[in-house]
């Protein structure tokens, strides 16, 4: 953990009503080695995982179990140095995410927060009704008769409460889509405001009306109406703070993926860092191409070869000057005349050629396969002598003719782990059903798409860590950098303010668009 990471917090894919962030922060992170990486020949790299904060009573058991397994795990796996400590294979990711789903502790916090808010809401909603009903119940006989004015006020109270109910339902009753580390400041502010407000109204009511048994019923009803009006205004404040304020774009953020440098720009308004992180992640799954570790192996092997041939011998004595050694290595490596750039160029050219060839074969194979399928029109049913198949059968029938070409192409572009045979068949029958051309069918395989396109359970990272120097509830400002880490890679987010634009006008008189033709002709006579 470097010194710059002052604030670190985690959030998982669960919904979480954020009333209890302090408790979450007190529990530190557990670092433990994966017990499952000893099976499977795929896990050759050393593994370190960060788990979310678990409940204390679960944590003790887990750490004790790992101690026993740690020793065996160390013997049976081989570690490749030079790669990152945090690299992990895909199967492990799938297994770990399942483990996270099994943990129970986070649900309690979420439900507690929800129930508190629900109780408060119900209380607030019933208060005006209580204000109106209590005098009727307690001292009905003393009350002054209140004619049409009161009835009018009853109707207005009823409708305002209905509007408030619908508005609250529209604004607040939504599936929470993410679990954020710190409390959502504006929501907490609004809850506190509502609570104080209603409390003060009850206090006033209790002292001035209940104790003194006020007989002016019209005044009491008007008091209730004023409460409902004020609640509607608080609802308006909630809309402005929670929804409207961030709509106007004030900042441009640049998001760069650390493994391959793919970057995008987004416009954001006034948001806190945690909410901005949420927006970035939602857009990440839609805009960035899927993370493919197989594409990164080439550069890693090049980097390993670059420094591999040099060894440092310390001739002068036992002094172990580590920084001096590394500097000497770097200087020697720089001076060494290596032709790795040549290799890279020819390798890439060769790869391009191969990919293009395979792609051509694939396109031809798919086009031929599709010509065998003809859509059956209703009136031609009697004429067509061929078999009638549903899309799935048709897909299975033509799949073998293109399977080989497709598989070869996927292998060359290193996409084979993203497409299983079942998914290809499904996609094929989908395309046949919707009468798509071969090109439309191939679009999915020729270009790597965003993560959303692939099987959600496998490729969505449920666990993200927000790393930031500033407090995550503080607002975005120019020059802030924060990092969103998941297990395989991280997204570095750089915030820049949209500059203040000075727009001035210049009026052009339409008469200035008149021109004079200046000729100089020469005529021979």
């Amino acid at each position: 953990m470097s010194a710059t990471m002052d604030t670190e917090s985690t959030y998982s894919g669960y919904s979480h009503y954020s009333g209890h962030s302090k408790k979450a922060h007190r529990q530190g992170r557990d670092r433990h080695k994966s017990p499952r990486s000893k099976d499977g020949s795929r896990s050759e790299k050393s593994v370190t995982i960060q788990t979310p904060p678990a409940e204390p009573l679960l944590g003790n058991d887990a750490s004790r179990a790992e101690e026993g397994q740690d020793d065996n795990w160390g013997e049976t796996t081989t570690a490749i140095t030079g790669t990152s400590e945090h690299s992990i294979s895909q199967e492990d990711i799938a297994r770990i995410s399942k483990d996270l789903e099994d943990s129970v502790g986070l649900d309690c916090k979420r439900y507690l927060g929800l129930t508190v808010a629900a109780v408060l809401g119900l209380l607030v909603f019933l208060t005006p009704i209580a204000f109106i009903l209590l005098p009727q119940i307690l001292w009905r006989d003393d009350l002054e008769p209140c004619g049409t004015v009161c009835e009018g006020l009853f109707i207005s109270v009823a409708f305002k409460l209905l509007i408030l109910l619908i508005g609250t339902w529209a604004l607040f009753f939504r599936q929470p889509k993410a679990d954020i580390p710190r409390v959502f400041v504006f929501r907490a502010l609004l809850l506190v405001l509502i609570f104080l407000f209603v409390f003060s109204y009850w206090l006033f009511y209790g002292v001035r009306i209940l104790d003194s048994k006020d007989t002016n019923y019209q005044g009491i009803v008007q008091y209730a109406v004023s409460l409902v009006d004020a609640l509607l205004f608080i609802h308006y404040l909630a809309i402005v703070l929670l929804e409207l304020r961030q709509l106007q774009p004030m900042f441009t953020v640049k998001v760069v993926r650390s493994t391959d440098g793919e970057s995008r720009y987004y416009s954001l308004g006034h948001l806190s860092i945690q909410r901005a992180a949420l927006v970035v992640l939602e857009n990440y799954y839609r805009d960035f191409t899927v993370y493919n570790p197989a594409l990164l192996t080439a550069s890693k092997s090049r980097a390993a070869k670059h420094m591999a041939g040099l060894k440092v011998y310390n001739v002068d004595g036992p002094g172990n000057n580590a920084s001096g050694q590394s500097r000497a290595m770097i200087a020697a490596a720089a001076r060494r005349r290596d032709s790795s750039h040549n290799e890279l160029y020819y390798e890439e050219a060769d790869h391009e050629r191969r990919v293009k060839k395979r792609r051509a074969r694939l396109v031809v194979a798919v086009e031929e396969a599709f010509t065998h399928i003809k859509r059956l029109q209703a009136e031609e049913q009697q004429k067509a002598p061929g078999e009638m198949m549903d899309p799935r059968e048709a897909a299975q029938a033509i799949f073998p003719s293109m399977a080989r070409a497709l598989q070869k192409y996927l292998r060359t572009t290193r996409q084979q782990q993203y497409h299983s045979m079942e998914s290809i068949l499904q996609h094929l029958s989908f395309c046949i059903t919707n009468n798509m051309t071969p090109k439309a069918f191939l679009e999915r395989y020729l270009n790597p798409g965003p993560t959303l396109q692939y099987d959600r359970d496998r490729w969505f990272s449920k666990q993200w860590t927000l790393v930031s120097e500033e407090a995550v509830t503080s607002g975005l400002q120019d020059g802030i950098v924060f990092v969103l880490k998941c297990l395989d890679f991280s997204l570095v987010v750089n915030v820049k303010k949209i500059p203040f634009i000075k727009l001035s006008e210049e009026f052009i008189d339409p008469k200035s668009h008149k021109f004079v033709l200046r000729l100089q002709s020469e005529t021979s006579v």
Partner: protein
């Protein structure tokens, strides 16, 4: 040492051109430029760049104009008595190419440079 300076002055010439018949046309053998509807700044021959007069821009070799003594850069002041200092380019062309005239008498102004040699006393 010899100091030589040039003095320029303009002289008026009367030039009589006999038109040459070429097929169906009578040609004079020179080209004109300028006119009140033209851009005087582009005239390479005028001394005053606001002068919108008619100038001789080219003289064909061996043509009637050259034979009559017309030179390139001459400003045409009159053609057969008609004034040419305030005419449009097309009017000038028409006045020079009248079909029933065989002879045109031009009054032209020519810029001449004369070398005046001065000897200074060396002692």
């Amino acid at each position: 040492p010899r100091l030589s300076s040039f003095v320029s002055f303009s002289s008026q010439q009367r030039i009589e051109i006999h038109k040459l018949r070429q097929g169906d046309n009578l040609i004079l053998g020179f080209s004109i430029g300028g006119g009140i509807d033209q851009d005087p700044a582009q005239n390479p021959f005028s001394e005053d760049k606001t002068d919108k007069g008619i100038y001789v821009t080219r003289v064909t070799e061996g043509g009637p104009a050259e034979v009559a003594g017309l030179q390139i850069g001459d400003k045409i002041m009159q053609v057969n008595g008609w004034d040419m200092t305030m005419v449009t380019h097309d009017q000038a062309r028409k006045r020079l190419t009248k079909r029933n005239e065989e002879v045109v008498r031009l009054l032209v102004t020519r810029q001449s440079l004369q070398k005046a040699v001065q000897q200074t006393m060396m002692s």
